[in-house]
């Protein structure tokens, strides 16, 4: 098994994608969060409470959570590239027990996802504290709480990467799989939120569960304002974490079990 994981790390680290992914994490974490903190949520449209309030702080961290489609897309891209470039056949020739290959991939990708999350959360923390100090704004939550929220976002990134791997293993066609992952997370889910009745499901959808991790109600509140409906309450953070973990386990199980019997042509 460790040989299979070594092989997956070699496969990942030899491409340029790996560096690009960590750079993206730093740009989204440090860059985007830093920019949001610099502008201040009070200047958003519609305006939000400032960084010196808990609600304002949770809002900017919650928006960071919505960038989870990036690691999800990365997971999809790497697993489908095996089919696109025809290496899946060679891989299964060398390791005919396909379930073990996919399990090794998941283990390697979980590490990559955590590295992504760590860079994202780390640069975000650095940017947030630096900007707050520079603007002389006291943050609306104690430092430990901010770090805990960022850590949750970081772990959520790893979970999304695994969800992306699962969808990729399921769909196999690279463009189609990317369309499913990015389309759903970026467009599909916000649209579901607008449909009365269906939006009650939102708390147990991946986006809703992620929002629950940080207690981020900006999107649901904005949506209910627009539609004039009652805001859909999010799950408590722990329940949100469980739901997300459930998605990751389901996606991983699909990724491991689906290729077992399928023909590789």
């Amino acid at each position: 098994m460790s040989l299979l994981i070594t092989a997956e790390f070699r496969r990942l680290l030899a491409t340029r994608m790996w560096g690009g992914l960590l750079l993206t994490a730093a740009l989204l974490g440090g860059g985007m969060l830093g920019a949001m903190a610099l502008v201040g949520p009070e200047s958003f449209d519609p305006p939000l409470p400032g960084l010196d309030t808990e609600a304002g702080l949770r809002a900017v961290l919650g928006i960071l959570g919505y960038t989870a489609f990036v690691p999800a897309a990365a997971g999809t891209l790497t697993v489908t590239s095996e089919y696109r470039h025809g290496t899946a056949a060679v891989t299964f020739l060398f390791a005919p027990r396909r379930g073990r290959v996919l399990a090794a991939k998941l283990a390697a990708y979980a590490v990559v996802g955590l590295a992504y999350g760590l860079v994202l959360a780390g640069t975000a923390a650095a940017a947030l504290f630096a900007v707050a100090a520079a603007r002389d704004v006291p943050l609306g939550l104690p430092t430990t709480s901010v770090l805990a929220l960022l850590a949750r976002i970081g772990v959520a990134m790893a979970v999304y990467l695994l969800i992306g791997v699962g969808v990729g293993a399921l769909v196999r066609h690279q463009v189609a799989a990317l369309g499913v992952v990015v389309g759903y997370l970026y467009l599909g889910e916000p649209m579901l939120m607008m449909i009365p009745g269906v939006n009650l499901l939102y708390p147990v959808l991946p986006g809703g569960a992620t929002a629950a991790l940080t207690g981020f109600t900006y999107l649901t509140d904005a949506m209910s304002d627009q539609l004039g409906t009652a805001a859909v309450p999010l799950l408590p953070p722990a329940a949100g974490a469980l739901v997300l973990a459930g998605y990751a386990v389901t996606a991983s199980a699909l990724a491991v079990l689906l290729p077992l019997r399928r023909d590789i042509t």
Binding site: L3, L4, T6, A7, R10, R11, A14, T15, R16, M17, S81, H85, G86, T87, A89, V90, T91, F92, L93, F94, A95, P96, R97, R261, D263, I264, T265
Partner: protein
């Protein structure tokens, strides 16, 4: 594992895709110590069969084993079987070395093996270039290098002639001969007989997923003919047909050229030397082999 002689045994193998039967009740054996050609027109089911032998495609019925084991049960698959299927099989952003290092790890082969196969396939200079810039010939060689990482006892090549230049083909011929002489099992598919004719000892011919014939190439081919170019062609023809002993049938092909049926090239050369006649060129012709292959693999035209 070294020295094992492992036969490929295909037994009543069948693969159906919906209404289409790609392979139907196919049985044959590929013996170790020889190069076997797997022949048939495009779409005959060669690739599907080879994918079933290597466990990539699951059969609808029947079995395929290597040394008595189905592929999925081999203890060391990449030390037992090396297989090359056509087309690309590497990430364009990987270098040749990156690619081989991934599969060295996957198969549990020492990293030193990567440099060995790069050398063996003449890829050492291109080792650190990304594969997106590789020519077709280099891709073929990298595929072959990957298959040879585990120094396997059985080698399966699907249409290796596609995209190989004459130099590459000559190299492949030498390599496969050496592997077969070492007691290994080599199966090479092609839809063009002439491409692998110089390469193979035995053939398995299929058409529409069914076995047409299998056996040594020489038995299929019948006696060869020798094409002779000689300034003394007329005198040679005269002496050849007077005996004593078995007399060949001699055909005059043109000025200074004869086709001698029933004798081999050394026989003709010795005969000419004994009669002090000059010979400029001797070519052994497997006459009718291509026609035979066409007859075996194309549908009979119904005559009324």
């Amino acid at each position: 594992m070294t020295g094992d002689r492992l036969a490929i045994e295909v037994s009543h193998l069948t693969k159906r895709y919906g209404d289409i039967t790609a392979v139907r009740d196919l049985s044959f054996t590929v013996e170790p110590g020889a190069v076997t050609g797997f022949l048939g027109p495009n779409g005959a089911g060669k690739t599907t069969t080879m994918r079933m032998v290597t466990g990539l495609v699951s059969p609808t019925g029947g079995t395929a084993t290597i040394g008595g084991q189905p592929y999925g049960r081999l203890t060391h698959p990449s030390r037992t079987v090396g297989a090359v299927f056509g087309g690309n099989a590497f990430h364009p952003g990987h270098t040749a070395r990156d690619h081989l290092r991934v599969y060295a790890a996957l198969g549990g082969h020492p990293d030193g093996r990567v440099a060995e196969v790069l050398d063996l396939l003449g890829l050492a200079e291109a080792a650190d270039r990304r594969t997106r810039g590789f020519s077709t010939g280099m891709r073929q060689r990298l595929n072959l290098a990957t298959a040879l990482l585990g120094d396997p006892r059985v080698l399966l090549l699907d249409e290796p002639g596609n995209g190989l230049d004459p130099e590459g083909m000559a190299f492949l011929r030498t390599l496969l001969r050496r592997l077969a002489d070492d007691g290994r099992t080599v199966l090479v598919s092609s839809h063009v007989l002439s491409e692998i004719q110089q390469l193979v000892d035995d053939v398995v011919v299929i058409r529409r997923g069914e076995l047409v014939t299998a056996g040594p190439l020489s038995r299929l081919a019948g006696p060869p003919a020798v094409l002779v170019t000689s300034p003394d062609a007329e005198a040679l023809a005269a002496t050849l047909t007077v005996g004593p002993g078995p007399v060949p049938r001699v055909e005059t092909v043109g000025a200074g050229r004869l086709r001698v049926h029933g004798w081999d090239a050394p026989g003709v050369a010795d005969h000419a030397a004994a009669h002090r006649l000059r010979v400029h060129e001797l070519v052994t012709e497997h006459t009718g082999l291509e026609q035979l292959f066409l007859r075996l693999t194309t549908d009979e035209v119904t005559t009324r």
